[in-house]
Amino acid sequence: MTTTLDHVLRVQNVTKRFELDSGSVVALDNISLDVQPGEFVSIVGASGCGKSTLLRLIMGLESCTAGNIELGEINISKPSVDRGMVFQESRLLPWKTVTENIAFGIPKSHHKKEHNAIVQQHVELVGLQGFEQALPHQLSGGMQQRVSIARALVGRPDVLLLDEPFGALDALTRIQMQQEVLRIWQRERKTMILVTHDIDEAIYLGDRVIVMSERPGTIRNVIQITLARPRDRSSSEFMSYRREIFQEFFGEQKKTFVFEI
């Protein structure tokens, strides 16, 4: 196992431009961001502000137009098993069972003998004991997302990228999954970057909340959340963070309901 402690993620002056038929669109404009190992960073912004694009760049699924991204000493140019990713849709392979889907996340270099033990360990990590042989279509949305998280973690990445992972879940399941992710983060101590449009979710989970503005996507503000975990969503401190972030959006334009409350 590699130590994760010295792998700082550095996003340096990153700009991303998409060339479309109708001209070019600047999705991200000069973004800089350092994420410490083991840190939980939330990124909030209205839809279309480029926050998902930023995650895709960190994953290496797309390349920066300008600037660069480093993990530790290594420049990121393509996907690698040191970064894992969870999407809004679970993206499970429908023909594989829960254990087979999780095992699909194991890199080739692992010893075959350890596979079963590692997979079982991750089934337990996400609390899916008893569903090992189930197929994705037999699971609820929340359970599918748990499998997806286990699949991303089983390769032991240094950084886990979460792209609106609970956006498609109902409100109750979403809160449950946030607690679950918090538990996993506290246990595994991975660096996690969560992209969301849910301000509560961002405050509940993040050490820092990064507020992005839209078109072009820039970092508007970074808010340090100093509350102890687990956080009480109805506490006055939580509320004041919430108000602060709301103000960030309202200050911009009179576009009131562009994000979910």
Binding site: P79, R83, W95
Partner: protein, 262 residues
């Protein structure tokens, strides 16, 4: 509830046989009344008696076996080629483009048109018949393999990329499984065409097989024997399709689009 359950049984097993039974009775009745001439369309009871005779003497089984064996050979050959060619073509747009005209011209040619040509090239024995069948099987398999592979979910491919999977892992764990329903459709259409092709080939030139049975019975004006042959083709085709659907159901347990309609 009991009534509900019996209703289900009636629905599932009784309903499909009601219409055939009524038709058969009507047919028998009209034959008895002399409306249908027995030299043109013998009564079902006469055809049944002929069928019984041919089964007992083993004559029918001999023809059926010959035809089935040709289909098995031709289908295996044609679908293997279809599968391999489909894999290659779907991986390279350039290859597909360069073959566009060739496939475009060859594909619409009816299978039967190949029979005389292949007899000229390969002689009148087994090889030409097996080739005809494999041509018939090749096209639907090829087209469905290409379509199945091309329609692989990009999101799944992206996941495989993120997890750093090799090309062969992506092929065997992502692309092929997702193409499997489509490949199966190709195989089912293919075997249907293979079964039709063998009869066609045998009608033109053969000394054994169901197609030959029908052609020979026509020369002898044995309408009942002809109809036994025709019925046998239909029943065998149905059985083959049911068999393939069973295999498909078992293999594609994950496919929620596959309902229990056998």
């Amino acid at each position: 509830m009991v009534t509900n359950k019996t209703l289900k049984i009636v629905d599932r097993f009784l309903l499909p046989v009601v219409i055939p039974a009524v038709l058969l009775m009507l047919w028998e009745f009209l034959a008895l009344k002399g409306v249908l001439r027995s030299t043109i369309l013998p009564a079902p009871s006469i055809i049944g008696a002929t069928l019984y005779d041919m089964v007992v003497t083993g004559e029918l089984w001999g023809h059926l076996r010959t035809s089935l064996w040709r289909v098995i050979q031709g289908f295996t050959l044609g679908s293997s080629f279809g599968l391999i060619a489909g894999l290659l073509i779907s991986m390279s747009l350039r290859l597909e483009r360069s073959l566009l005209l060739v496939t475009g011209i060859l594909r619409p040619i009816p299978i039967i048109a190949w029979v005389p040509v292949l007899i000229l090239w390969m002689g009148i024995d087994e090889a030409s018949k097996v080739t005809v069948i494999s041509i018939g099987t090749f096209w639907p398999v090829l087209l469905n393999v290409i379509q199945g592979i091309r329609s692989t979910d990009r999101k799944h491919l992206e996941v495989a990329r993120i997890l750093g999977k090799s090309r062969s892992t992506i092929l065997f764990h992502v692309v092929l499984p997702s193409a499997l329903p489509s490949i199966f459709t190709g195989l089912r259409v293919g075997i249907g065409i293979a079964w039709m092709s063998v009869i066609g080939a045998e009608l033109i030139a053969a000394s054994q097989g169901l197609g030959f049975l029908i052609a020979y019975a026509r020369e002898l004006s044995q309408a009942d024997v002809m109809l036994v042959g025709v019925a046998c083709i239909g029943v065998t085709g149905l059985l083959i399709d049911i068999l393939l659907r069973c295999i498909e159901k078992r293999l594609l347990r994950w496919n929620v689009n596959l309902s229990g309609n056998v």
